[in-house]
Assembly symmetry: C2
Homo-oligomer: 201 residues x 2
């Protein structure tokens, strides 16, 4: 009964770490404030997570697992290729433009100049874990003739570019609010339609 409780506590603390991160940014998120809000002690934070980068590395890994779990199922082909594309696009936009991902990406970017540790973790647990699945999905539909694709990796980039555009950057800059469900659907639909036109046989 103890391991489960510790795991819950760990998650509580990481939830609060993301919360503080979103409010104050990476440098501004002090270990003291995280400890206080979590009714934990600094010593516990350091005992469990090593140091400040260590804490946020764990936060990033946990987030990446959630992303992977939300995206992978969307790529299982049970309906139209284009509808899978739309569903995948929606899920990706929801995650990428949501508060947590924005806070995490801001943190990784903030530190990238002097230390790319967080960025490395973000990339290897995020993009590099999901993109191959998506590319395989495109390859499948290239072989079966849905689309005519020469280089699936480039096609994947095209779709992501059409889907996301510069909304992620503007979101990171704090110039856009988190999009509503309607806007997400519209963007995903548009991107899928453009993609289908681009790679029509």
């Amino acid at each position: 009964m103890k391991a489960a409780s510790r795991e819950r506590r760990r998650n509580e603390i990481m939830d609060i770490a993301v919360e503080v991160l979103a409010e104050r940014g990476y440098r501004g998120a002090s270990m003291l404030e995280i400890a206080n809000r979590a009714s934990a002690s600094k010593e516990t934070l350091y005992a469990w997570f090593g140091d400040k980068p260590g804490l946020f590395e764990q936060v990033i890994r946990r987030n990446a697992r959630a992303v992977q779990a939300a995206l992978a199922p969307r790529l299982e082909n049970d309906t139209t290729a284009e509808s899978v594309l739309v569903a995948f696009g929606q899920a990706l936009l929801r995650l990428l433009l949501g508060e947590d991902a924005v806070a995490i990406n801001r943190a990784a970017i903030s530190e990238a100049a002097s230390d790319s540790r967080l960025a490395q973790v973000l990339a290897s647990a995020g993009r590099e874990a999901t993109l191959p699945d998506f590319i395989r999905f495109l390859e499948g539909h290239s072989r079966n003739g849905t689309w005519q694709i020469d280089t699936p990796s480039e096609a994947a980039e095209d779709f992501l570019g059409l889907l996301i555009g510069d909304s992620q950057i503007r979101r990171l800059l704090g110039l856009l609010p988190a999009p509503g469900e309607a806007e997400i659907l519209a963007r995903a639909n548009r991107a899928a339609a453009r993609f289908s036109r681009l790679y029509a046989p």
Copy 2:
């Protein structure tokens, strides 16, 4: 003879500010180090730029002017529409993925959580200054039949998405080096080709 000299000195200091920014990130770029490298005194920095955000606000404005000056001429139609698109794309990629812009965008993103002042300046002097020109360019070629475009603003986003993809984010995360001229040309060509296919009459 004094005004010109002061202006040169100002630019020297801002050059060094960008340099330090690129090495240490926004929080890590201390006013002391900037002053020391510039053989200036902290007091002069504060006298000229107000405070730390003020200094980097000036840096951003200067960079935005350079960007605008580099991009606007590309849109003057003297050759093929597609070749203008390629040239514009090349120039944009060079600027957006270059060291200075990366450092500046990182800074604005770092502070966005707690203070969007830098981001506001970056947006209003950057994107909002150049995008309208590009949209007008697309409108012109929509009227004259080169492309069939319903909503020029969306078409502009499509081109930028195809052009940039996720390379800007990966660059900000420190996962990609600055691209060489060959790669820039290739990306611009690809994006222009895709765009032409997408909006062919």
